[in-house]
Symmetry: C2
Subunit: 284 residues, 2 copies
Amino acid sequence: MGGAIAKALRTQCGVTQKRLFACDQDNDTLNAAQQAGLICKGFDVSHADARGVGEMLALCDIVFLCLNPSSILRFLEQWKDSFKNNCVVTDIAGTKASIAAAAEKFCEYRKNDNIDFIPGHPMAGAEKSGFNNSSLCNFNEKNYILTPISRNEPNNLEFLKSIIYKMGFSRITEVTPVEHDRKIAFTSQLCHVIAAALIDCESDLEITRFGGGSFEDLTRIAMLNAPMWTELFMENRSALLDRVEQFEKSLDDLKTLINSDNAKELEKRLSLVRERRVEMSRKD
Amino acid sequence: MGGAIAKALRTQCGVTQKRLFACDQDNDTLNAAQQAGLICKGFDVSHADARGVGEMLALCDIVFLCLNPSSILRFLEQWKDSFKNNCVVTDIAGTKASIAAAAEKFCEYRKNDNIDFIPGHPMAGAEKSGFNNSSLCNFNEKNYILTPISRNEPNNLEFLKSIIYKMGFSRITEVTPVEHDRKIAFTSQLCHVIAAALIDCESDLEITRFGGGSFEDLTRIAMLNAPMWTELFMENRSALLDRVEQFEKSLDDLKTLINSDNAKELEKRLSLVRERRVEMSRKD
């Protein structure tokens, strides 16, 4: 995702190569991004002498933290003194409650330096991670969620939103971190749990001979980044388990209708589902 | 699906318009197909004087029965005497046990006339039905399942398979009706039940603001044809309920892992899921 954002900044937002920096724990990724004409310089965060990261942060007017939630908290703790005065910080993590709390704390800590942290979540992942697959992340017509904290400056929020639209996203929704985590537990995490369960319960590797698109569509995201999704599930456990239970209730209702031979009621319920899904598409 | 097959026969298999006939309960559909240069003549099966259907069947060397399972059984019963001697009959129904039994019975009934019925299932549906949406059914690179009965003539089977490949399908798998129904309960029906349950448990019509592709991919098929899917679920109830329960077991396992805070075990299980899904793609 970091690579995809760097590409969008270069190609969609008119940011020149000499004004783009990146840090990563993989030096090959940094070299590839530099050779691709994306970034001016890369800073190896895993290097024993990681002072370069601080040097980089001291140069940046805007910083995208493209890490999982726990790494963002660690990064902020380690480098909180290195961010440039007046800079705007944002992130892309898939859960927002802990990030919003960390953003509050960080802004408070650097309040005399006018640093602003606006938590965000671009809804545009890909099954494959890594810089080599970053072009698979297509931002066009995608959603972006922001969960601003009360102290965010309106002009910084407008600045970040203008960049997001330039990157290709078509809709920005602002909600509280709690609301974000509750919605995302449904649209993203529950869907990944379901896809994983579908693959978990079938051992026939040649089952795709019997696929007509539905199975493929429902399980593509089962090719997930296991460590990242484990963290997201655990981080948002409470909201996710609520959603799993709501889903199980609906599944159980449908199962009961199928088992009861009550074709009329089943058809009625499926018709309501169809209408609701069509209506959701209209709102889209 | 009937319209899509007619188009494929015309454009991919070199069948001329004057050799293609269709019957339907909607006269507008028949007129549209004729005006589109697809069929020579349409026969309105719902018409009080439906004798035309018998006249049509007497002309056909190959017949595609594009109906749901119960309608196929009724059609065969009503028109069993009208099929042309030596003709090859096939169908497209999503469950095969009852169709294979009906095919046996029908072939036995017309055994002196050398009529052959080879049950089949093209894995290439679309959310939207009707002739106007028939171009949404894309057969290219799709799967086709055949469940031949023991009395099917090898040369008829080869003839049907050659047409299927010409229509664009890339893989034909031959299995028993029971095996078909067991596999399809998983790849198709369970997936539709899951998609329906996902929509059933969420009433927020603007939830797509929080969608990043996963939710959309998992619920597209919730825009289902309720009467048809009700019949398919009911027809294949036993195999489908088995699959729902296998899925529920895996879902419950994942839920337990998320709830137990056992990140290590959850990550291990998700890694196995990822590997299995990647392997399935390789076999695809």
